[in-house]
């Protein structure tokens, strides 16, 4: 399981988010990832290292290629965490719905 703190830290960079967006479409090599970003391969590799240690991507060996893909458990852990936070916020708003409904009927009566 990834450390949420390092996962959010990894996500705080727009290039790394864009890399994840690309990997959401399927696995890719460093070279393929470097192309749309006008970045050098070492620069992309540094971002990949951050994403990898945050548990958001995994790299597999395929001959000399090491294609990257999204790490499902890492992505799912963040999603579960955000779901919990969304749920807590939505609970507030459901209470507000009830308050608004009561206020409305108080005005009518």
């Amino acid at each position: 399981m990834p450390n949420l703190d390092s996962a959010f830290s990894a996500l705080s960079d727009p290039t790394r988010r864009a890399i994840l967006a690309r990997l959401a479409l399927g696995e890719a090599t460093v070279m393929e990832l470097a192309k749309p970003f006008a970045m050098t391969q070492p620069a992309v590799s540094r971002h990949l290292k951050v994403l990898e240690s945050a548990g958001l991507i995994v790299r597999r060996a395929e001959g000399t290629r090491r294609p990257c893909q999204l790490a499902k458990p890492g992505v799912a852990a963040i999603d579960a965490w955000l779901d919990m936070l969304r749920g807590a916020l939505e609970k507030n708003y459901e209470r507000l719905d009830a308050v608004l409904a009561e206020t409305k009927s108080e005005i009518k009566s």
Partner: protein
């Protein structure tokens, strides 16, 4: 990742914008005036701005005028609690609120600058809350660690993060 959300959840959206913003939208089945009042009237705030089950807001100060103070204190009834302080900056009745706030956990978090809009939407109101944090690192900390209590209104859909 693309789980099916319930009809209730789909009324709310949560996303990050740029490096320092978090934007929350929610539709309410009431007029903008009522939704605005529920965001500024202390007695109404105490009825809904509570976070997880079991928490209450025993202290609610909300001086809804430019320069007015806000102070919300939450308690779980077991001796644990925390509070938020802030100041109102601009108010356009029933339409727009601009304020700053910070959580005390117990050290104060960096200021969160929030603009909340209430716009007519069909028979009801569309609320849009746009938060601006001082920097990407502060937003990261808020999302990752500052919200164990589930009280801060700053939530993100991973899909939107990934979609940039």
């Amino acid at each position: 990742m693309n789980r099916t959300e319930s009809a209730v959840m789909s009324r709310m959206t949560l996303k990050t914008e740029g490096d320092t913003h978090v934007v929350v939208t929610r539709h309410f089945a009431a007029q903008p005036e009522a939704v605005y009042r529920a965001h500024t009237d202390p007695q109404l705030l105490q009825r809904w701005l509570l976070g997880p089950e079991g928490w209450t807001m025993p202290v609610c100060v909300s001086e809804a005028r430019p320069g007015g103070m806000m102070r919300y204190e939450w308690s779980n009834g077991k001796g644990e609690g925390f509070h938020l302080t802030g100041e109102y900056l601009e108010l356009e009745p029933y339409r727009r609120i601009v304020h700053v706030e910070r959580m005390h956990l117990p050290d104060p978090t960096p200021d969160n600058h929030i603009e909340t809009l209430f716009e007519p939407d069909g028979d009801g109101t569309l609320m849009t809350m746009r938060m601006t944090l001082p920097d990407a690192e502060t937003r990261r900390q808020m999302l990752a660690t500052g919200m164990e209590q589930g009280m801060e209104a700053s939530y993100v859909r991973l899909e939107s993060l990934i979609a940039g």
